[in-house]
Symmetry: C2
Subunit: 152 residues, 2 copies
């Protein structure tokens, strides 16, 4: 179906919320969960993952919580999704040294991998800041065809 998980959605929402409130030093998982009606414990685990991957900074104890580790402008949607859902690939053939297990000539995989990179490129070009601003100005046309061109 080509859709990303709710966890990734939640993660993006939370980061977007943090980007919209830069003055506040930290938000607890519960604060963020309440803001969007997300199950608190679930969001907590997501935020923990984002902390482990270096996108968030956490602080335990009272008045603790989470804050962006970097500037919102420098955090891409790709990083968030990748942190939560792991590496994604369009091709269901799991990549790596072993190509398609049984299928000998899965030549379909190759052009689809280009598509995959294109999507990744688009996602990388979108920052959390872009999400926070309602007017989404992203993906400069200058590098657009570099992203989309399938012939290197």
């Amino acid at each position: 179906m080509l859709k990303l998980t709710k966890k990734a959605d939640y993660g993006l929402m939370a980061l977007k919320f943090l980007a919209e409130h830069p003055e506040t030093p930290a938000f607890s998982a519960k604060d963020l969960a309440d803001a969007y009606g997300i199950p608190a414990q679930l969001l907590a685990k997501i935020l923990q993952r984002l902390t482990k991957t270096g996108l968030l900074r956490s602080h335990a104890g009272m008045n603790g919580g989470y804050a962006l580790a970097r500037e919102a402008r420098t955090i891409s949607a790709y990083e968030v999704i990748h942190s939560i859902d792991g590496p994604f690939f369009i091709t269901s053939c799991t990549k790596g040294a072993k190509s398609c297990e049984l299928t000998p000539n899965c030549t379909i995989k190759e052009p689809l991998a280009r598509v995959n990179e294109t999507i990744a490129g688009v996602l990388k070009s979108i920052s959390i800041q872009d999400l926070a601003e309602h007017e989404p100005a992203a993906a400069k046309p200058a590098e657009a065809h570099k992203l989309v061109a399938l012939t290197p």
Copy 2:
């Protein structure tokens, strides 16, 4: 995880195979399944779907089978995937009249919808013929930034 289903993969493989053998009038589901080591009955159902959506032409009886309904150049990967997996959306919020059920301001959905359209555009720009040719020349740079530009 953002990956398309095996069924869609199988469908693309089958269409690619048909595009590579335009001289042969028809291939049975079993022929195509054997060519790639795909479960025959499963591929059969996929091909039936593609027939219903008008991408393939079927012929029952002996020496029957499937053939492309149109020229390979005019069949896009998007159509194939859409036929098999149905409409896909990046956002896990199921679209439609009802927006995000509980979440009041899921502003994240809007820019992600742009990404969704971008992906769809890339997929639409790739034809079965492109898959069949090993050297994949797709997505003319001319319309590239039209696809990627998130600000209309």
